[in-house]
């Protein structure tokens, strides 16, 4: 190569290769650095995730069990009968509080004095009489016998048993007295105290007593609310996206609509709550605190997300598919429903699941329509008063009792599980639609 002949700053081929070779080192180094930045970022993110989930799991896992006390209860015939006849009504009317108290006192006959007796009574949950009542109502043949039954201990005893209360510190600094600890130890020695699976937590609604509070009411509330949201937002969002993307003419009106939809996605969620209060409760008259009203409000909040994701998914469908369908004489609607929509469906589902996950975690819009509330009864349907999982977590986090700490964490775990189940079902649906061959 005699390239140097021309001289004008042009490099010969060997000079060029030399320059390229010199630069290679720093080019590769930059690439390696970038890869390590990426790995570092992922490691940090994973670390925080593990920390977060780990601490929640550690705090919340103990909710799976609940301390129970085995009492021997006499069920004398005269207490459960009226005029010598035992009926469901007469069983229901019996004095269970007295029965529970007396059987507990029978275990500690030497306890005397009002203060000590009250301290002894507080070992057992205030819900224990109801548990006994339910048991006898379900088994009326037990009347007249003496039975052994496991009843919930109070939250303080539960915390003591789980090791959250330090018995070595001064008794003024803890919720259980030295005497109560003595009774607790004796109960353990007698084999009358044991941790059992916490059915209450997984099957009941909220309560002021931690040992009787359950997550199921809020889970049902979230389920009904999200059902309403999904049933409203998904069809509306998909049809809107299809209309705007496939049918609407492109003019200033559709531009205006598009800008407004994008803006709606950024509106603070409490504004939707105000709208819900003003329109759905006051004008239309939907029931207050009901998942129906909550679902409608959350659907409004979720719609923009679904529409935007849906339009993006529709845009991603190659135009050749539309041409192919139109070319054989399919109408525009047939083109969309037979060909475009099936191909866009995975993307639309992804968008919807993001919107639904957002809706699942919302509390602010529900504040205005009365779903941020203390609700004890399990909702039987979308018209009953209910609350939702994040609200339940919030209420528990705000409660002073030590036992609510583990319930708060457990509530968060249930919320996360709910999310995982939702996402998994979306992934499965997407798999069914995904036919990219």
């Amino acid at each position: 190569m005699s390239g140097n002949r021309e001289g004008r700053g042009r490099m010969s081929r060997s000079d060029t290769m030399e320059t390229v070779r010199k630069g290679l080192r720093s080019r590769y180094a930059a690439e390696r650095r970038f890869i390590w930045y990426g790995r570092g970022a992922i490691a940090v993110a994973l670390g925080f995730l593990v920390l977060l989930v780990g601490s929640i799991l550690i705090k919340g896992a103990s909710v799976v069990t609940q301390t129970h006390i085995r009492l021997t209860v006499e069920l004398p015939l005269e207490t459960f009968s009226k005029n010598g006849v035992v009926t469901a009504e007469s069983i229901g009317a019996a004095n269970y509080v007295g029965l529970v108290k007396s059987s507990l006192r029978d275990l500690f006959p030497d306890v005397s004095g009002r203060r000590d007796k009250r301290a002894l009574d507080s070992l057992i949950s205030s819900g224990a009489p109801y548990e006994l009542r339910d048991h006898v109502l379900a088994n009326p043949e037990l009347v007249g016998q003496s039975i052994d039954i496991w009843l919930s201990a109070s939250d303080d005893i539960d915390m003591l048993d789980k090791g959250y209360i330090d018995r070595d510190i001064d008794s003024t600094g803890r919720r259980v007295t030295d005497k109560q600890i003595g009774w607790y130890d004796k109960l353990i020695a007698d084999g009358r105290l044991e941790r059992q699976f916490n059915t209450t937590f997984f099957t009941s609604g909220d309560s002021r007593e931690p040992e009787q509070a359950g997550i199921w009411g809020a889970a049902l509330g979230s389920f009904y609310t999200l059902m309403v949201t999904l049933l409203l937002a998904f069809p509306l969002g998909v049809t809107t996206a299809v209309y705007l993307e496939e049918f609407a003419p492109k003019n200033k009106w559709t531009d205006l609509i598009e800008v407004n939809i994008n803006n709606l996605a950024a509106v603070p969620s409490i504004i939707f709550g105000l709208l819900g209060l003003a329109v759905f409760l006051n004008i239309i008259g939907l029931p207050r605190s009901a998942p129906l009203a909550g679902g409608v409000v959350l659907a409004l909040m979720t719609l923009p997300t679904i529409i935007i994701a849906g339009r993006a998914a529709l845009k991603a469908v190659p135009p050749s598919i539309r041409e192919a369908a139109l070319g054989v004489g399919a109408s525009r609607l047939q083109t969309v429903t037979h060909h475009v929509l099936p191909l866009a469906m995975p993307g639309m589902l992804t968008g919807s699941i993001i919107g639904m996950a957002q809706a699942l975690g919302e509390t602010a819009p529900l504040l205005m329509i009365g779903m941020v509330a203390f609700i004890v009864d399990l909702p039987g349907g979308p018209l009953d008063p209910a609350t939702v999982l994040p609200v339940q977590v919030y209420i528990w986090a705000d409660s002073p009792e030590r036992a609510f700490v583990e319930r708060t964490s457990a509530g968060i775990i249930v919320l996360l599980l709910f999310l995982v189940v939702m996402n998994l079902s979306a992934v499965m649906l997407r798999k069914r639609f995904e036919r990219r061959w």
Partner: protein
């Protein structure tokens, strides 16, 4: 084409374009195009990129309707009826005028479903046996039957490029159109696949009127009986393919054919 052609006068005119102007918004894409397309002939539209040949092709089955801001003036008549008349249903029109596109675009469905889709939506055949017959006939006519007979339930997108394009032709035929429009059907194919499609086009001429847009002058010369040369939105010259390629009347046609413009 060396075989003896029927004289133009013997053939019925299938499509007449009369003073066609097309605008995309402000920009005019076609200027006053007059063209008549004979039945059972292959008419080739050639010209450099952006000359309006594809635009004209898409006017014939009103595929331009879906483009925002596209406006068509003038008259295009199929068997004497203006296809832009208000009484004409565009879905019905496209059932009469099939189309094959530049890039093979089978539906992401099975081979059977690809071919049977048109007949099914038009209600030409409802029963499975009828559909099977149509699918069989169409695939045979498209020269694809022997290659796919034992895998009709496999995805159409799994075929090779040339097979996919023949599948698209079968899909168009299945609707029993009078006219088949082809928009550069071989530009994404290798020479062997191209040769097969060209053979096929020649066979199809017997039953269909074919309009083909092509970039390749050799292809136009091989498959067509009449050729129209477009340049900058104008129809420059239109006549028997032999004459266009051997003794063009217009200077621009000659320049294009000899490779000076394009």
């Amino acid at each position: 084409m060396t075989d003896t052609l029927p004289q133009d006068e013997d053939l019925r005119t299938a499509i007449v374009a009369d003073g066609v102007n097309v605008y995309y918004g402000e920009k005019q894409a076609l200027f006053d195009v007059d063209l008549d397309i004979k039945q059972n002939q292959v008419t080739a539209l050639i010209g450099p990129s952006g000359c309006g040949k594809s635009t004209f092709l898409r006017c014939i089955n009103r595929m331009n309707d879906v483009i925002d801001g596209c406006r068509v003036e003038g008259r295009i008549a199929l068997d004497g009826d203006d296809i832009y008349d208000r009484s004409v249903d565009v879905v019905q029109l496209r059932a009469r005028i099939g189309m094959v596109f530049q890039k093979p675009n089978p539906f992401p469905k099975s081979i059977f479903d690809n071919v049977s889709y048109g007949p099914r939506i038009h209600g030409i055949a409802e029963r499975k046996a009828d559909l099977e017959e149509i699918v069989h006939d169409s695939l045979v006519r498209a020269g694809l039957w022997n290659e796919v007979a034992d895998r009709l339930n496999e995805p159409g997108t799994g075929l090779s490029g040339g097979q996919q394009q023949r599948l698209c032709i079968a899909r168009a035929i299945a609707v029993r159109p009078d006219v088949i429009l082809m928009d550069e059907p071989c530009s994404a194919l290798d020479p062997i696949a191209t040769a097969r499609i060209e053979e096929l086009i020649d066979d199809l001429r017997e039953n269909y009127t074919i309009v083909i847009v092509t970039h390749s002058m050799q292809q136009a010369a091989r498959v067509s009986q009449r050729t129209a040369f477009f340049h900058l939105g104008n129809l420059v010259e239109f006549g028997p393919t032999d004459q266009i390629f051997t003794s063009p009347r217009d200077k621009r046609t000659e320049s294009y054919i000899t490779g000076r413009i394009g």
